[in-house]
Symmetry: C2
Subunit: 345 residues, 2 copies
């Protein structure tokens, strides 16, 4: 059923039918009702490709996921973000287009999305230090919102981010207040903007007390369970083991917990752990007393907000760059406790 068929069926022109369906005022209310009823009855749906071609709007938002040998961005955190964003898109009538591209083809991919016209806007994921994408997209002239920040970008741009520095500052303060001094930082890849900010918060808390963290207790890698486990295991077996861990995601935190338990220690008594908690739907840290003491900030919510922001940007071009900084809650769980005076090891 195409527009033409429908219009012939109704003995109306395509123009009138189109206007009736799209809510233009210059069509009599009675006619509109007649058109809407017929469209409904025959299950008419406008062909998006044709509509897009005519309007110049794709009614779709793109997420380009760079995949490198080292960094795999299709992770549970990304999944939750996308789930949040997707809700908003479908509510507002947009499609979500996900492009998995080898890192080296990335610039290419962005430019193509522009000229191919398959999306109206983009979400930029996992900004790195010196990330070229902000510059590139501004140049290309396509609306975009960054999930996170690209600290060193010269141009203004829109973003939704969590206050990483503050969250990690607070978490570190809590551990320091509990008496811990040898605190390990299990962080994400160190060229990631969020990882840099988290480390900054961590170091800030130390230096505010005239202390300094031990660099040998800081590790940065892709945030897998295995990374958390192996690092914790190695550090705990080392000559001067940490008494506490600050971890960048609940996934490596699960690995840290495993390492602690393998060594016959008890998390929260022998070793304290605070993790950042993205409040992932499948890995909830939400018991009456949560397992992990955590800085919690829902990444799904961040996805919703970023999508909302982007659609506004797309629909009101020129509306200046927007920024949204989300604060994490500090949740007290079972994984933290005061430094034991005599560590029984």
């Amino acid at each position: 059923m195409k527009l033409k068929d429908l219009s012939e069926l109704l003995h109306l022109s395509q123009t009138t039918v189109s206007r009736a369906l799209n809510g233009y005022p210059e069509v009599a209310e009675a006619t509109r009702r007649r058109v809407l009823a017929a469209a409904e009855a025959h299950g008419y749906r406008p062909n998006m490709r044709a509509r897009s071609l005519a309007t110049g709007r794709a009614m779709a938002i793109g997420h380009v996921i760079p995949v490198t040998a080292r960094h795999e961005m299709v992770n549970p955190v990304f999944a939750d973000f996308v789930a949040g964003a997707g809700e908003v898109y479908s509510r507002r009538g947009y499609d979500m287009l996900i492009s998995i591209v080898p890192d080296e083809d990335q610039e290419q991919a962005y430019r193509e999305l522009r000229t191919k016209g398959s999306v109206d806007g983009l979400i930029v994921h996992a900004p790195k230090l010196g990330d070229p994408r902000v510059h590139l997209l501004s140049e290309i002239g396509m609306p975009f919102v960054v999930h996170g920040r690209a600290s060193d970008a010269a141009l203004p741009y829109s973003w939704v981010d969590m206050n990483n520095t503050h969250a990690f500052r607070r978490a570190t303060d809590l551990l320091l207040d509990l008496g811990h001094r040898r605190i390990a930082l299990i962080n994400g890849l160190e060229n990631m903007d969020f990882a840099i900010r988290r480390r900054a918060g961590f170091e800030e808390a130390f230096s505010a007390r005239g202390l300094a963290p031990d660099p040998s207790l800081m590790a940065s890698e892709e945030m897998t369970e295995g990374f958390g486990h192996d690092t914790a295991r190695a550090l705990l077996a080392g000559p001067a083991p940490p008494t506490a861990f600050l971890v960048s995601s609940i996934i490596p935190a699960i690995g840290v917990r495993r390492a602690i338990e393998e060594l016959g220690l008890r998390m929260g008594r022998d070793i304290s752990v605070i993790t950042h908690d993205d409040d992932l739907s499948y890995l909830k840290n939400r018991a009456e007393v949560p397992v992990f003491t955590a800085t919690r900030s829902s990444v799904r919510d961040a996805g919703r907000r970023a999508a909302e922001m982007l659609l506004n940007l797309v629909e009101t071009p020129g509306s200046g760059p927007h920024e949204e900084l989300l604060e994490a809650e500090l949740i007290l769980g079972q994984s933290t406790g005061p430094l034991l005076q005599s560590v029984s090891r």
Copy 2:
């Protein structure tokens, strides 16, 4: 830069330029090279919407994700599947369109995808018992591949699935061989096709020995860490606790492990655990001796295969339904051991 501009620039017709770019034979080799060079130099990319409109092909594959109050399909397993599929799509020049739709709007959503013409084919996720989608899509006449099977579908259809029954049969056999009799099954939602098959394998192993599983040891829910933990905790505290667990995914298995450890027991010695392992990139179970004894089958690989199959279906219409059954490996890890004669509790 549009086709028209490029053709004027080259003093050629749009026809010739289009043909040169798309590899048609009726254009001189010299001309083709000239066209390609110019296209490259000016960064010409055909507008996909226009091309789609003209060819009738969308060059995109859709994944419709139903979201209900209870069931949240954007989970880590889905993420890995999509990552695999996405690789294939981009390699073969397709886009991936993800639609998050409330469950009740699902039929609507599928029909729309058809008439809106935004995709050439679909992947059907998480088939349930009595799933109407196979029938619906056949009727609509859009190519699709099911990830899993819809056991009770009357029509033939294409699918990629893991041999759930066999995998769980083998896992259960292993536990029975180790002497376990009180084995708990921590399964996915029971209306899911895969969950039914897994349960069948589980029961089959028992009945092959003239035994029967204890129904009070079987639980079915959304496969979260919390579900695994809470169920294991409750069962282990019950009057006749299990001595082993068979778990449907590594995420609840992590919860089971947590419950075991909270009770001061040791997994692999006091309590045995076998889990199905989708080989998720962020939750790898791949140490020298893996933590969990597991039936392993990469869901990312399944994504690749399903995508491959679907694109073939799309590109060679009428090529009959295809089927692919993947076998899981049985991996021996640290989480299983013989039944202790005197359970020290």
